[in-house]
Symmetry: none
């Protein structure tokens, strides 16, 4: 994944010659132009995977007893948002970028970066992140691309061994992080910010077992040095791992650099705090310049953390993971319970009197699908400047009657900013 100016890398070279293209195509640039600061407070609660589908006629959200959200939705602007496009099921990366107001088709996050974020690694613009697999090599041939799916415990030990033996190559610092089973990630930190195509390196994993691994090869000039370091890393790792029966080699995939995304401060003039217990969501928030300290605990702990920091930021992204987790497991009733648990806590957030309070998800995770889905996600926005009184409760079906209708997720941030009176008038 290459770096760019905040525009699709394919488009940005065109813009120098066609400036109006930028103005017309990039809503976020217009928003940035109109953004103004004030003292309003915005809270965006993301119940991960909130949207659902009916089991016995009612969705998870319709089944859950949510008197607090229902009461608030009645006097809020309601609707449903489409994270990427109709029919497209978003991953967590595109889902959150959209919520944060960034077009997920413009700003694609490399797999290596997401993996590294999920493992809690920091990413800067001098970094290349790569997903790795432990693999089995015999006589120069990859005989198992997953090293027999070695147990996570063993992978953890091997990864520590690599970290200890190969802390750096030349002037490049290496950080290894173990994943599940045969997976791990490495971040290569170079002394200086990297060029645009520095991560343009094809995967080294062969398509099939019984073949040689591929050498890392930079497609562009700026990737050649990165590829050379990667090659040394592969050789040194093979040396460190030479006595392992199964995991004696590493394959590298999804080379990616930090996407060049304008920060919340740059794009909206917002000082933003992310409150999330899972590393990947903190990582996604950091990509857009939010503060995202590592925290642990329950949703109630997250809300307490929000309260403690309420005076120090303008914008708060509060992430609730468990709703999605039970959706992914196909556990309808536990997903319902997590929604109900949040509802009980909602008055604690209301008590802080945010000027704009938004409750939604980053995508749908219907328990009957046991995974993310393409369905639009219910949302309500509570603020003084809405119509309200269009929906009887907070649910997928009621939200269709709301004043936001069905809309692209990237339009949510402009609506949030407008309701916080943080956007100036366009044109005289």
């Amino acid at each position: 994944m290459s770096r760019n100016s905040g525009l699709p890398s394919c488009i940005s070279p065109l813009l120098e010659n066609f400036p109006t293209f930028a103005v017309l195509c990039c809503m976020q640039k217009l928003i940035t132009r109109l953004a103004q600061k004030n003292s309003t407070k915005i809270v965006l609660v993301v119940l991960d995977g909130l949207g659902g589908l009916p089991l016995n006629g009612r969705t998870e959200l319709e089944t859950a007893a949510t008197p607090n959200m229902d009461r608030l939705a009645q006097v809020s602007a309601c609707g449903l948002h489409t994270p990427v496009a109709p029919g497209i099921t978003p991953g967590s990366g595109p889902g959150h970028l959209s919520l944060f107001g960034y077009d997920p088709l413009e700003h694609q996050i490399g797999r290596g970066i997401l993996e590294a974020l999920g493992l809690g690694l920091e990413i800067t613009n001098a970094d290349i992140a790569v997903r790795c697999n432990y693999a089995t090599m015999k006589d120069g041939i990859i005989t198992d691309r997953r090293a027999g799916r070695i147990p996570t415990d063993q992978s953890r030990k091997l990864t520590e061994m690599l970290q200890k033996n190969i802390p750096r190559i030349e002037d490049v610092e290496l950080t290894f992080a173990p994943g599940m089973e045969h997976r791990m990630a490495v971040v290569m930190r170079f002394p200086n910010a990297l060029g645009k195509d520095a991560a343009d390196i094809p995967d080294t994993a062969p398509q099939l077992e019984g073949r040689q691994p591929l050498k890392p090869l930079g497609s562009m000039k700026s990737a050649e040095h990165v590829a050379a370091i990667a090659e040394q890393l592969i050789n040194r790792a093979h040396d460190v791992l030479r006595h392992e029966e199964k995991a004696n080699f590493i394959l590298m995939r999804g080379f990616s650099g930090k996407p060049d995304i304008p920060t919340f401060e740059q794009a909206y003039g917002l000082r933003a705090l992310a409150i999330a217990t899972y590393p990947m969501y903190r990582g996604l928030a950091k990509l857009v310049g939010m503060q995202a300290p590592a925290i642990e605990g329950s949703v109630e702990d997250e809300i307490a953390f929000l309260k403690d920091n309420f005076d120090s930021y303008d914008f708060f992204f509060l992430h609730v993971k468990k709703v999605d987790s039970y959706g992914e497991d196909g556990n309808f009733s536990e997903k319902v319970k997590r929604i109900e648990e949040f509802d009980v806590l909602l008055p604690q957030i209301q008590a802080m009197k945010p000027d704009v309070l938004v409750i939604t998800g980053d995508h749908s995770t219907p328990a009957i699908i046991k995974g993310h889905s393409w369905h639009p996600v219910p949302v309500f926005l509570h603020a003084p400047y809405v119509l309200g009184n269009l929906c009887a409760s907070f649910s997928e079906r009621e939200c269709f009657k709301g004043e936001f209708g069905v809309f692209p997720t990237v339009q949510l941030m402009p609506l949030i900013l407008a309701n916080a009176l943080r956007l100036r008038k366009f044109g005289a």
Copy 2:
């Protein structure tokens, strides 16, 4: 009409230098990237010209007794789709291309091609299709551009005469097909696939009577040979027709080549079968790579054909023509009857248990307008992964309450594929 790369003409010049632009910006390319195969079956029923407007307060669809469609719509995802853009009345070409998921503004079908398809001619990428008029020439001047609208019978005989006398010119095979009155079409089949601008030839019909016909002139190098063959054809036809009183000359219009459209297999990984009794709709389906055997008979025969072929394809496009025909005639009550007739047959389709069943039209043809119109077209999609229970019946007004809302027709195919679980997740 010139051939193009399947991209908007405003963008395509840019793409040669920026190939990723195409990948990011064109939704169909994203769909192609995410498409996956499975064993699901999809049936798309197109009741041609379905949408209507009220006469005495109720539209055709609201007037029709449609208990089967109503029952199914209640538990389906409903909405209305806009074939091209608000206010734009689509022809049958754009209407169907949109339904098939191709942006009708990107993929414009030449008039010659549509005419040839409507007359049942096959079109390959070595073909140029042209609409022709029989005309009257006197002393080198066109005195009647329609040859006095000669009867269809006579036109048929003349066209047979042309076919017999001019089966080929040089190495170009000619196929003539008679149309109504003074109209006919010719397909020129060259020995090899033609270049991009090979059909860039202005019409030879003069703007006014009392003028000379124009010589066919290729605007681009690649069209010069085609123009030279066309000129020979005009001269030889004039010779064959020299004894005719009225129809002694041909004028050529709408030179067009086969549009370069990815097939259903390429775009979606779908093996698709078109079931249509009218040649033009089979032709449109063939343009996107569907199998479209010539069939005849009633709607019930079409459904029997669907059943016979249900195991051999993934996607079925079943076209019902008569709904539109009566709309075009301004015959409200007969249009109502055709809708009711289909409703009686619907259970036969349901009995095949398609995974996704969609019922809609390619455009609206309100009887009170006596022609195609710009109004969005009601649609329902029946599948296991919808909310449903938002609409009481299948009608224009009820569909506005549905979960699809009002949406561009090109978004229907992604929604169909998603509901057939044929699209992978976007991003991690």
